[in-house]
Symmetry: C2
Subunit: 253 residues, 2 copies
């Protein structure tokens, strides 16, 4: 299976860095606050960060009391930022594709992945490795691009607009056609893997996770007043969060 | 809260009966086969059918060995069909709104609801009653209109079409705006309650259910060749199925 390393593309890398440097972006407004709201108590915990990128979250987890954080990423560029800007004695950065975490030894209490799993073709492989690496009662918390975003089939605009260009509807096509969708984000040929909601959840349930919470964050009225451009998220969320626990034996199905 | 009894509207009732009598319809092709594929073993089980309508499924459950089936529906018209056409010594039909099943005494091993919960405003109330009525290890299996169908905000066509009228995209608006959506199906003013995926799942998880399986059925290639009109389901499924089990104590969140 393909292991994508788009973050080592220089144009992508620079575009991504610039986007994340903007104070107001969807990550700061929705993704990070939702991720934090779903975090379990990290005091003394061993944390695995899958697709850690430049390591901002790894530092956050240490500040929240994690005893040890292992940050895993495929991109050398991102990891060099991580080592320069977000190093800490409690953090170990490993250059490994997420698909290869089976090679990691040790046990973790919490596995977290922020906006990385939609780049991965072998989602089930990752889930199987995560549950093996987690202790009993261990938490798996991740965000990914929302299935209503990843399903986009790439024909024309993602939106139906009125004569003034205002967005009326999200154009949803091929929601039931899973697999690779080519996307353009800073560069052409970024590969996103679309999975239906049911596949995301069933892969967890089938492999021994109990679903605790799902979130599809959208803006509060107050925020839309301040940043009207985010009103579109009412039509189609950008992100899906899943929090699950490794719990008790086999799925009884 | 509103308890809707649209099935006792004569025009709706006749239209619905006629639709269901057609041999080829979305129920026969997708809904019923998926429901059956998710059924647990019913041998000797006490089954509760929420929104049983005219009782076809109640009879099916008896044929599959259920010891007793309680069919609950708000509509007198539907229940009179059930009593005439689908009666059995093992079946009890009760004229109760789904929201009022708290008044039922007894314990059930399996609670099933086929395409009824999207008519109900107080979904959480139903879930709380179902888990109370289920034995430990009891199964709750239901289908509902898919959230991509219930979210429709009623402005214009549900689809963006090409110049020949072929469907290009489903128009998705207000997915994050939950609550009542007025729909026209045989008659005007049919009330559908839209809930996001996360609400459907979290309400179960928060109240003590473990999610076992989710299904969003869509047609196999063979079926699309035979009935090309169902190709649209690749863009937007009609139905969502959830199978959950009452299991072990509190949600650890």
């Amino acid at each position: 299976m393909t292991k994508q390393n788009i973050f080592d593309n220089e144009t992508f890398f620079q575009g991504y860095r610039k986007l994340r440097e903007r104070e107001v972006n969807a990550n700061n407004l929705f993704e990070i606050p939702t991720l934090f709201s779903l975090l379990p108590n990290l005091e003394g915990k061993r944390v695995l960060d899958l697709g850690c990128g430049s390591g901002e979250r790894c530092i956050d987890y240490v500040r929240r009391g994690a005893a040890a954080v292992t940050g895993v990423d495929i991109s050398e560029k991102m990891l060099s930022v991580a080592r320069n800007e977000n190093s800490d004695p409690a953090i170990t950065y490993l250059k490994i594709p997420m698909e290869d975490i089976g090679s990691i030894s040790g046990t973790f209490d919490v596995a977290i992945s922020s906006l990385a799993l939609h780049y991965v073709e072998d989602y089930q492989g990752v889930v199987k490795n995560v549950i093996r690496l987690l202790s009993e009662g261990g938490i798996f918390l991740f965000s990914q691009e929302h299935p209503l975003t990843t399903c986009y089939s790439g024909m024309g605009d993602r939106w139906t607009r009125d004569e003034n260009g205002n967005k009326l509807y999200a154009n949803i096509a091929d929601y039931c056609v899973e697999g690779r969708k080519n996307s353009t984000w800073f560069v052409e040929g970024v590969q996103i893997y679309h999975r239906m909601f049911s596949t995301v959840i069933n892969t967890l349930a089938d492999n021994g996770f109990r679903i605790l919470k799902i979130e599809e964050p959208y803006p509060e009225d107050e925020l839309v007043k301040k940043y009207p451009e985010y009103v579109d998220l009412y039509h189609k969320p950008d992100f899906l969060f899943v929090k699950a626990v490794k719990e008790g034996g086999e799925n009884p199905i």
